[in-house]
């Protein structure tokens, strides 16, 4: 009996207005694994990630989060809001544009979903949120509003907000792409710490060094297909395809 995957993607396809963005993608992410998803813009990386929590609805394919199928219920019908929300609550996402809730303080941003979604007791949520903010190095910012933070700080709050859900998997959608170069390091450091703590992460990124140092698997998407998937040493030192070789050359 093999261990259940954190995320299992089978035959995932998606088109936008007749353009095939994903073409039969298969991917297994085991518990505790960090998977980096690389590829040029328009290769389908973000769409794949957004299908995992049903922010995009796939045309075909099956996605399971820790063994539970998302989007389609046991009766084979499209999930209602309630069912979909319940399974989404087992995942979390960190966005390129942070998407913190501006009307709430940093602390409230981290507490909000556990309280409103999971029904966690306020005192318990408060304690957890404070611990998470300390973990991302922002304990002193608990009571400020997001608009006063730098991009790197906002993204670290977003990571704390994601962690507060105790997710089976955290989906990172280009988490450092909107940051100025000096702020990238602080976010990547937090993500490295998470991987060391055993969080399951799928990271769509352009950060080659991060992918090389932290990933268990590197996946390369090209025109909606995974054309290469391997351990980082092999991927970066000895890629199988000409396409990846060229991509790596140009990225250095």
């Amino acid at each position: 009996m093999h261990e259940q995957a954190a995320v299992q993607i089978t035959g995932l396809s998606k088109s936008f207005g007749g353009i095939e963005v994903l073409r039969g993608v298969n991917l297994t992410v085991r518990k505790g694994e960090v998977v980096s998803v690389l590829g040029s813009s328009g290769s389908g990386k973000s769409t794949m990630l957004r299908c995992i929590n049903w922010l995009e609805v796939p045309d075909q394919g099956r996605i399971e989060i820790a063994g539970q199928r998302i989007g389609v219920n046991d009766a084979g019908k499209a999930m209602g809001h309630r069912e979909l929300a319940a399974i989404r609550a087992r995942t979390a996402m960190v966005f390129q544009g942070f998407n913190l809730w501006p009307h709430l303080t940093v602390l409230q941003n981290v507490m909000e979903a556990p309280i409103r979604v999971k029904g966690v007791n306020r005192a318990v949520a408060l304690e957890a949120a404070n611990a998470l903010l300390a973990k991302v190095g922002l304990a002193d910012k608990a009571h400020v509003y997001p608009f006063t933070l730098s991009g790197g700080q906002k993204q670290r709050v977003a990571i704390a907000r994601a962690l507060a859900m105790n997710p089976e998997v955290i989906l990172f959608d280009e988490p450092t792409s909107a940051l100025d170069p000096e702020r990238v390091g602080e976010v990547l450091q937090v993500m490295k710490n998470l991987s060391a703590e055993g969080y399951t992460m799928i990271v769509v990124t352009h950060e080659m060094e991060f992918a090389r140092a932290v990933s268990d698997q590197v996946v390369f998407l090209e025109k909606g297909e995974i054309i290469e998937q391997s351990a980082p040493e092999k991927f970066f030192n000895n890629p199988e395809t000409e396409r990846v070789r060229k991509f790596l050359e140009l990225s250095h």
Binding site: T91, A92, P146
Partner: protein, 220 residues
């Protein structure tokens, strides 16, 4: 006896009218606020609800307020629903301005970044908690100036209700001016009262504005 003395001697009438106007406004505004928020929420739920809400918003914005008041006060009794003037007036105000509130919130909703919704969905929010805790507070902060404007309209529309015999401020002024024929001073004092109410309302809204500023909404 000077005209101002007559006004002073009629102070009980004015104070009662002022109290009625304030109460009508607070109740009908609260009603309109709830109706507006709920209508805006239902615009995003299901096709039938959306159509019903759109119809309501369109119709209300095309009907003159006074005609709606007549319809509810004089029209409904024909169908066995007899409301006293005060209740009919308060309901008319709430229903009428609720549509405008819904429209203000709808406009604000259109420019809310989609990322706000996506991050709520991604963390497992169901539609109602998402609306209540993530969307609505932002819509209110973002549309504060328009809401303030609409509140002023709602306050001033209470004066129409004097026509259906609600004893509010304008009705009080009318009683005094027609009894003693001192129209100018009676209405000047009435205007002063409306201005005072508006200023109080404005001060309350400024507190909301300060909260918005603290959160980075006012200089977006």
């Amino acid at each position: 006896m000077s005209e101002w003395e007559i006004i002073w001697q009629s102070r009980d009438l004015f104070i009662k009218g002022l109290g009625n106007t304030a109460l009508l406004f607070v109740l009908s505004f609260s009603g309109a606020f709830v109706i507006g928020c709920m209508t805006n929420y239902f615009l995003e739920r299901g096709l039938i609800l959306r159509q019903v809400c759109r119809l309501y918003m369109s119709v209300m914005r095309m009907v003159p307020f006074l005609v709606l008041v007549y319809l509810i006060y004089y029209g409904l009794p024909q169908y066995g629903i007899r409301l006293d003037a005060w209740t009919a007036g308060a309901i008319s105000l709430a229903v009428y301005h609720g549509a405008y509130f819904a429209e203000i919130l709808r406009g604000s909703r259109l420019t809310l970044p989609t990322g706000q919704i996506e991050s709520a969905k991604a963390h497992g929010f169901r539609p109602w908690p998402m609306y209540r805790h993530v969307i609505l507070p932002q819509l209110l902060y973002r549309s504060r100036p328009l809401i303030g404007n609409q509140m002023i309209y709602a306050l001033k529309d209470t004066s129409f209700l004097s026509i259906i015999t609600v004893q509010e401020l304008t009705a009080a002024a009318n009683t005094v001016q027609s009894s003693y024929f001192i129209p100018t001073k009676a209405f000047v004092i009435t205007i002063a009262f409306y201005i005072v109410l508006s200023v109080i309302m404005d001060l309350c809204l400024r507190r909301v504005g300060a909260r918005g500023e603290q959160r980075g909404f006012e200089h977006a």
